[in-house]
Amino acid sequence: MMKPSKTFLILIAVGFLIPFSLFPHVQAFIAVSATPDLDTVAITFVDFLEEEKFEDAAKLFNTKMAEALPSHKLEAKIGELIDKVGEFKEIVETRITEEKGYRVVYVTCEFAMSTLNIKIVFDDEAKIAGLWFVPVKTEGLHGIYIAALMATGASVLLWGGLVYWLSKRKWKYLALMLITLPFSTIVNLLIKKPVYELLVSSFNVSSELSVTMPLWFLLLVLFLSPITEEAIKLFPLVARRVRRMIDGSSALWIGMAFGMGFGVGEIWYLAWGFSIVPKFAGYPFYYFVGFISERMAVVFIHGVMTAVAVTGFMEGRKRLLMGYVGAVLLHAITNIGAMFYQLKFLDETFASLYLFLPIFVAFFIFEHLRKKGLTDQMHEETVLFSRE
């Protein structure tokens, strides 16, 4: 009979230990799931307030709360609030927590002039026992900037490390990333924004993307970023000194460096964009986990897109143009998911999952370019044994 190895027994032990270590959490999760859905009650309450159904809203109060804040007083309170923060726009998110033994739901709501948390405290019978309107806290650094820092660190470590390692440990390629760092902000503020505004005003369409827009306009918008961004990423090639650095073995790494530098710069440009949107104020960094992972992937894809054009440059100007067109197409393919999300064709999850396609394509192209750059530099081989 086969004797189980020590390793196998250890594996079994670890395999059991991990689920058991998670068991208390799972139990807690099941316990919470079994309680009434406070999220739904809180949202219903806010919906009643929005629809000015104050009597219905007050029915969700427990006895003490109903005595302290009857429907007419509630109506007056909401009136005062609307005067201060403007009309109600939308519920941004809900968050359940426990404070001093009470279950509390924070309903973050966007108003015309501000974002507020409606803090709803529930008693044991899932009746509302307390109600506060509190400003969204923006303690210390904005969460998006912490997320941007994490995305930058992870991208530089992962992709920068990969370029450094595969290029036989050459720091100069990493240093080239610095050149294109500000290019995203430049192209977005000085080129894309004015061009888009010009298009919107010239063709008299709404600035918010929608399916009612003509297809040619949507295609124009889809290709606006690829055409402008891929061009500016190649801008360093204008310098003769940079052009002289490019040869068969360096083209890929120089292209990767320019693209990745642009991608890292883009992280910060987007982070700034998020930071000025009121509804994101006070969000903790972990709310932007999707942003971090998406940006990490995009930094690599940016690198590959530019590498396609720069390796084309090695074979003459005509091939540079072909490389540029290839980069534009890959960029457009990458942006389709985000555009479909804006057009509400895809939800957030599917738009994120879509990103796997361009990542896969980028990896494939990257490996192809590496193989092409290997040329005849074969490693020395020592034959230790041979049948012949």
Partner: protein, 173 residues
């Protein structure tokens, strides 16, 4: 002749395995904690991904000390934990030592470690069980497959293999 077991060369592969596994394990635990407090259902996917990544790396980390190469008159058995390749000696055509050009498509390859089938840009797919990803790999070529190993005592391993099988002397290309 009796069976002889050759240990794999020492490496820092374990460190890189731990470097991947532990942050994912900690992040997974942290996300579990946040989920229990906030009930963000969007965190569930991240939790499963984190723990799903950490677990296989932990298993390999535990298996790493068991990596060895067993040589007898009929076969070479390459082992690491649950990974096991049996290579009949008669099927071995050539053994070489060289550096390999790594590819991004990989089974499991880290600095100081390569396991399972790993594609390389220059030699194609190699069944690896080695404590190096690309440097100083002993490549064993059979009719069907290519195996990559890194015995600690290469000279003794090759001399032992030759004495059991017989073959030509070293040559450098």
């Amino acid at each position: 002749m009796s069976l002889k077991i050759y240990a794999a060369r020492k490496s820092y592969g374990w460190f890189f395995l731990a470097l991947i596994a532990l942050p994912f394990l900690l992040l997974g635990g942290f996300l579990v904690h946040i989920y229990l407090t906030t009930k963000y259902t969007s965190l569930l996917l991240s939790i499963f991904i984190c723990l799903g990544i950490a677990l296989p790396f932990l298993i390999i980390l535990i298996s790493l000390p068991s990596m060895n190469y067993e040589l007898d008159d009929e076969k070479l058995v390459i082992k690491c934990g649950l990974l096991k390749y049996v290579v009949p000696s008669s099927s071995i055509k050539r053994i070489t030592k060289r550096d390999l050009e790594i590819s991004l498509w990989s089974g499991l390859r880290l600095p100081g470690l390569a396991l399972f089938t790993v594609p390389y840009l220059d030699v194609g797919k190699v069944k690896m069980c080695a404590t190096s990803a690309s440097k100083g790999i002993i490549l064993i070529e059979t009719d069907l497959d290519l195996y990559g190993i890194t015995p600690a005592d290469e000279d003794e391993f090759i001399a032992d293999f030759r004495s059991r099988i017989g073959g030509n002397d070293d040559e450098t290309i």
